[in-house]
Symmetry: C2
Subunit: 382 residues, 2 copies
Amino acid sequence: MVRSEASVAVGEEISVHPPKRFLFGPGPSQVHPRVYQAMAQPVVGHLDAYFFEISTGIKQRLCKVFGTQNELTFVISGTGSAGMETAITNFVDADTKAVVLASGYFCDRMSEMAKRQGAEVVRFEKPWGEYFGDAEAAEFIHREKPKVVMYVTAETSTGVFQRGEAICKAAHEVGAVVIADCVTSLGAMPVEVDKTGIDVAYSCTQKGLSCPPGLAPITVSPHAAELLKQRTKQCRSWYFDIGLIADYLMVSHRYHHTASATMFYALYEALSLIEEEGLENRWERHRQAHLHFVKQVEARGLQMLVPEGHRIWNLNTPRIPEGVDDAKVRATLLKEHGIEIAGGFGPLAGKIFRIGLMGPLATTEHVNEFLTYFGDALGKAR
Amino acid sequence: MVRSEASVAVGEEISVHPPKRFLFGPGPSQVHPRVYQAMAQPVVGHLDAYFFEISTGIKQRLCKVFGTQNELTFVISGTGSAGMETAITNFVDADTKAVVLASGYFCDRMSEMAKRQGAEVVRFEKPWGEYFGDAEAAEFIHREKPKVVMYVTAETSTGVFQRGEAICKAAHEVGAVVIADCVTSLGAMPVEVDKTGIDVAYSCTQKGLSCPPGLAPITVSPHAAELLKQRTKQCRSWYFDIGLIADYLMVSHRYHHTASATMFYALYEALSLIEEEGLENRWERHRQAHLHFVKQVEARGLQMLVPEGHRIWNLNTPRIPEGVDDAKVRATLLKEHGIEIAGGFGPLAGKIFRIGLMGPLATTEHVNEFLTYFGDALGKAR
């Protein structure tokens, strides 16, 4: 075909003119120019051989960032919350007893989704911002003997990183499957699905992977995959039915839904960038940016909400200093410098900032530059 | 901020190199260069004022292409099938009696989703490729007195366009809500939600709107919106809960999920292109391309599956001539010219071609060029 597809009489000027933002919030994070370029490549069909080449490449690269050898590693056509709903609708049924380790917003969302499935949800509750110790988590799970245990590896609402080894061990001792939310951690810090013992882990594209939002990576252990096969009732969701989606993307290539070549290109490119940089180099870069940030804000007299050793590297939550109007700080940064950060919400509203250091912005140079403007904005908001 | 986000040591070459395709299949359809350009604009946050500006613009433009004044007109973060599941999970519950007018694949999918909700599904079945007459449809609905009636306006598996006025009238006479699948029709031919009397209509972005896949436009009538408010039980799906999504996008702007600025830019741009061309001009262009296609293939001795007056303009289904190997035709077009078309499936496997004339490719010039190669490929496949 020689003719251009631009055959319709319209102008050449696009109508979308977003302001340039520096995304230092909890996500979406800054996108590398190569990812934008990848999305500008021509769409192919959702059954095209090239599409499956890309989806296979995504699977291989996702296995590395997830730290897993799970055969069942793929992508849901929805955002991170679609990943959460996929995990829950496939493994939590009416009357399933599910334990949720709850100390933040996303554990609440997991509880809510499980309740909507009709599950019996038992919550180990702690105040937002706290983490669960190995012994107390194991004890709770041993006592409750649930079928499913759910926790959040990196709680975006609080900045807490939750270790999972003891949780998974206890869960497996009582025969439960573990669902872990890796929405904020994946790509920025070690998730280590297999070593930790997580059965079902899901994430998003727009945080540690630094891609635009739109897809939800997910991985399912062989044990959990076996449970799916043994289901006697169908998953209530057709769109999130893991069996159908995995069959389309990885086995028969039989049409399920029209997956977006464009979004798959973006994720493939973002994962290629991670591979080129080296996954462990990338983790280390995020860790260094985080340590530098903490040192610098503490030197300026701010305190971190989360104790050392339990912090998410790519989402930092310093407390708002006494007498500072946090909305004013955020407005100054956004208006004067195009910098997005977030405040706390729920029980932490007005108490913390949520500052993301992710993807291309996770360097000490960017942290320094950010802190100049942040210090300025703090000064103006007293 | 002065520094670039390209601060990480990686090369400049992207890793995604799709072949150039001419998308004459049932979707995805060819994307206008301006839409690609829009997606390359920098991501803003899902709570950014600019994001809501874009989502408001999308709503206004969608109302026009849907032919509706429905306040509740917005976008689901998933593909067309996510739109279908949203409509069904919000309006079809366990024990809801739902009538499906079934003569193709997507009516079957609607039935399947409704059954998974536990609904009582009553199907008015006809062979694939047939349409429902006004009287017989009305009679069936009057007899069954369901709570929900579901039909497909443009059945992608067969090429049939189904008129909806009599269906909607009968449904309303028995107090039922009408869900209409507009996945293939929207943007390429009149949908006219309000005039037809449809209560809930959903679509996709990658067919008549000529955008990459990834979002599902949906519109809900005031009557159906009222029913949502009266629900006593929560929608089983949290991700597809219309109340929560609409509140986020259109009312309080309270965070629900991380909607993709990038995909919203794409849809906004695609809808701007439609506005610039003029919606009725666009419909007429698709109609002319269709009429020209039919005339030309009939002159070459092919027969259309669907009788005149009941055909989708942007998805044409000529029968495969006696003695032609359709897989060979498709392979020749793809390998030699990069042209994608589709075959039939289910009961129509090996019986029809499915040839899309959508978006920028829906011109008589493109049809002529396509037919040259198509005729060639047909000749080689005997």
